[in-house]
């Protein structure tokens, strides 16, 4: 059920209420989303709620219009992007995104390293090599020397990391359907165990964490290459 944004009869903006982004658009808590439809809804709601449309309304309606449109924009921006949509849903589920998944946290605790520094195991070797190269190029640039071969290697690394980052989107999307199936089962009144949900949440979280890690690496590579 979508929140009541404007009066169906007179078109006037209604007072804002604190709702989550899915509810704002009247969507179920599912991750597969028809983004073309979302865009149409966004445009249609903008035409009713935007401050420009309500510029001649009374002052409280103008305030509601401002508030509601900011909710609409926040909701649309968050839901249209696959990564921020997944992160948002996980957060609604009570997951603290700043932390690593439970499994990763446990691993970190055992090895005694801080959580943030957990490198996805399959990337370990790659990251080690990359950090050496980055350091080398930083030094070379500081001395005012150029190292075309090294730069080329970093460009190659960048390309492969970008490909990995994109592949991770597919990995993430692959978990959406089982998640949505759980939501459907719950809606149908079937029982879904917390363990089932936690398994999927952890899976998504692990992918998101790896992706964040790669994104940060890419940012670092970009910085060194561009400076």
């Amino acid at each position: 059920m979508r929140a009541a944004h404007y009066c169906q009869e007179c078109g006037k903006v209604q007072p804002p209420a604190p709702v989550d982004y899915f509810t704002f658009f009247g969507l179920p808590y599912k991750l597969n989303l028809d983004t073309a439809q979302l865009e149409r809804d966004f445009y249609a709601l903008s035409r009713k709620l935007h401050p420009d449309i309500n510029a001649k309304a009374n002052s409280s309606e103008q305030a509601w219009s401002l508030e509601k449109t900011s909710q609409l924009n926040d909701a649309y921006r968050t839901l249209k992007d696959p990564v921020s949509r997944t992160e948002y849903l996980l957060r609604l589920q009570g997951v603290q995104l700043e932390e690593q998944s439970k499994a990763a946290t446990d691993a970190a605790r055992q090895s005694g390293t801080a959580k943030k520094q957990v490198v996805p195991p399959d990337l370990l070797e790659k990251v080690f090599e990359l950090n050496m190269q980055l350091e080398e190029l930083r030094m070379a640039k500081k001395m005012g020397e150029s190292d075309p071969a090294l730069e080329q290697e970093l460009h190659d690394a960048k390309r492969s990391l970008t490909a990995k980052q994109n592949a991770m989107l597919d990995e993430l999307a692959a978990v959406w359907s089982p998640w949505d199936a759980l939501v459907d089962r719950m809606a149908a009144g079937e029982s879904v165990t917390e363990a089932e949900r936690a398994a999927l949440r952890d899976k998504m979280l692990a992918i998101l964490n790896r992706r964040t890690y790669i994104r940060n690496l890419l940012r670092e590579v970009d910085e060194v290459l561009e400076n």
Partner: protein, 634 residues
């Protein structure tokens, strides 16, 4: 008479314009001199009266210490920001500026803040509109560079208030231009707007879809424009003059402004010619001439033009688009007349850019379209809606001087973010928040917007209070902050110290002053204009009496005219606008027949072989008079 007319204003670095949407078309409202462009020049004449626009230009050369131009470059900026500007522009700052104070500029022996100087320009535009409508306007949409930060936007809004205008919306210039271009377009398209003006550069990428103008990304440089090209040429001329003529005129404001004028002429000539001569008659009687060819000129200005490439690429990257995905590129701003600029745009977007609308006027026309939308819309605009973005990320300074971003650049506005704060020390009752704008990692490299002091927090153990602070960027791109203590639900008290800009009280003080002016001004101008009109009709009547047509009137008609003529003469010396107005109207009405007869006589005479001029039809009493514009239907 509609009192809620909303005008659209382009408050430019070099020129400003006012426009209005009439019969589904936006039009530029000309000034009294019949010109659409009002140069953004403000001067103080010998009687300390403010002069604006074309009339102020001569002061730039004659008494440069009493005139100022390109003041837009100083809007919303602090002393430390404008050091580079001060080297290149003859801005004279007040001597007694205190640290952290809003800049004040000297004009003669007076000082004004940049918003006040902008307000003088706005007031001139308002006057032009008042005159056009024959009634005062009080509401406006004003355009700003898309890349303007919060302080620059706030300063522009303040200028509007000082000028007696309620600023209903600040619209980004490239977006406004797209509105003017998109008026007839209903199809879906991705458009890039490249806007290089006198002092600012913006690039915006928009998606047009069934009347919705959705900005996807914007970027720019608020200190890049035609001014920079002028300054390059001026520097060369000054070097030459010292080298060739052996005189250093750098310190002569008069000489520099004379050179500047010549440089601008040369720049304009080089947009259509292959070469030109920079020709300056120096005030000391010496003459400086230098031939400049197009290739020389292009080589010289290339570095300036190339500075637009970075923002263009960043905007494309942020929009996630390649040049092939851009359907149209649109040129806005006077500097896009430069062929080199057109070539660069063509290279960047890989298509021939559009420049169908006058690049000097298109932003004002778009502002008028947005004004029309805000006023409830019309047939032409009823499907149109603008969804703009914030050009810069908004962040909070964290411990250690880093920045935590809370609103990212290119987010659709209005937009909000809620953050939670707590205390670090037992019993702490206030928390300071430093809000910055910009993309850099460290707070000191970003633009400081304001420091907020959250006060009145109930004393609690450290970390226990939960203060929820809401940051809201409104549709103008201006930040509003509110806070409450989440446990008690109490609104927290916020004390705002804007890093740059006028306080509300300061703006209030300035408004009152200019309001007095404005009301008085308007009434006085109405009387003066009515008197002029009266003089014209009386002179025309004098002529009419000598025409054979006069004898064709009935004696009753002649009596009526004589009586009304005396009535008009009686009220003219007094300051009662309404009385003069109705006396003019009455006399106009009474002389209608005379005018027709005179016209017939003239036509008959013309048919007999004489020209209209020799027939001495003159200005018939009812012929259109110079201020007929004020009567235009609306």
């Amino acid at each position: 008479m509609a009192t809620d007319r909303i005008i659209g204003i382009d408050l430019g670095t070099t020129n400003s314009l006012v426009a209005y949407m009439e019969n589904d078309r936006p039009i530029v409202i000309p000034g009294e001199d019949g010109l659409n462009l009002v140069p953004s020049v403000v001067a103080l004449d010998e009687h300390d009266q403010i002069i604006v626009g074309n009339a102020a230009r001569k002061y730039l050369i004659e008494t440069p210490e009493r005139a100022v131009y390109s003041v837009k470059r100083l809007m919303g900026r602090g002393v430390e920001d404008v050091q580079d500007e001060l080297k290149l522009f003859p801005f004279r700052l007040a001597d007694d500026l205190a640290a952290g104070e809003v800049l004040r500029i000297k004009l003669g022996n007076k000082t004004y803040t940049p918003p006040e100087i902008s307000a003088f320009i706005l007031r001139q535009l308002k006057r032009n509109a008042d005159r056009y409508f024959g009634a005062p306007v009080s509401k406006a949409v004003i355009t700003v560079p898309a890349y303007f930060n919060d302080a620059q936007r706030q300063a522009t809004k303040d200028a509007g208030r000082i000028a007696g205008l309620e600023v209903l919306r600040l619209v980004n210039e490239p977006t406004a231009a797209s509105l003017a271009y998109g008026l007839d377009k209903k199809e879906t398209a991705t458009v890039a707007v490249y806007d290089l003006g006198g002092g600012t550069f913006d690039v915006s990428i928009l998606k047009l879809h069934e009347g919705i103008f959705e900005v996807i990304a914007t970027n720019g440089d608020t200190h890049l424009g035609g001014d920079d090209i002028d300054n390059l040429l001026i520097a060369i001329a000054l070097d030459d003059i010292q080298g060739d003529l052996g005189v250093d005129v750098r310190r002569s404001g008069e000489a520099v402004q004379t050179i500047r004028k010549a440089v601008i002429d040369a720049k304009i000539a080089l947009s259509s010619q292959d070469e030109t001569v920079l020709d300056v008659d120096l005030p000391n009687g010496k003459r400086y001439q230098r031939k400049i060819t197009r290739p020389q000129y292009e080589q010289l200005i290339r570095p300036v033009i190339d500075r637009t490439v970075g923002p263009v690429r960043q905007a494309m990257k942020d929009a996630g688009l390649t040049p092939q995905q851009i359907d149209e590129a649109v040129l806005v701003g006077g500097s896009t007349r430069i062929p080199l600029v057109r070539r660069l745009v063509e290279e960047q977007f890989q298509r021939t850019p559009h420049a169908d609308l006058n690049p000097d006027e298109v932003v004002a026309l778009g502002a008028a379209v947005q004004a029309n939308i805000l006023g409830g819309g019309s047939e032409a605009t009823k499907e149109m809606l603008l969804l703009d973005v914030t050009p810069l990320s908004l962040g909070i300074e964290s411990l250690g001087g880093g920045v935590v971003k809370i609103i990212h650049r290119n987010s659709t506005i209005p937009e909000s973010a809620t953050e939670h704060f707590t205390t670090g020390v037992e019993g702490q009752t206030s928390v300071a928040i430093h809000v910055v704008q910009g993309e850099r990692e460290l707070a000191k490299d970003c633009r400081s917007l304001a420091r907020f002091d959250l006060k009145g927090i109930p004393p609690m153990p450290a970390g226990l209070p939960r203060i929820e602070v809401k940051f809201l960027l409104d549709a103008n791109g201006i930040l509003h902050v509110s806070a409450r203590e989440a446990r008690s639900g109490k609104e927290a008290e916020i004390e705002v110290q804007p890093s740059y800009g006028l306080t509300d009280e300061q703006v209030e003080g300035m408004i009152l002053e200019s309001f007095d002016y404005a009301e008085e001004d308007f009434a006085q101008r109405q009387v003066i204009e009515a008197r002029n009109e009266g003089d014209i009709i009386l002179a025309a009547l004098e002529k009419g009496r000598k025409s054979p047509a006069w004898q064709q009137l009935t004696s009753r008609e002649r009596d009526d005219i004589n009586k009304l003529e005396n009535a008009l003469k009686a009220v003219m010396p007094h300051d009662d606008y309404q009385a003069i107005r109705s006396a003019i109207d009455a006399l106009n009405q009474a002389t209608m027949h005379l005018a027709e007869l005179m016209m017939d006589t003239a036509v008959t005479t013309a048919l007999k072989g004489k020209t209209m001029e020799t027939a001495d039809v003159g200005e018939g009493p009812a012929s259109p008079h110079p201020i007929a514009k004020a009567e235009i239907k609306s």
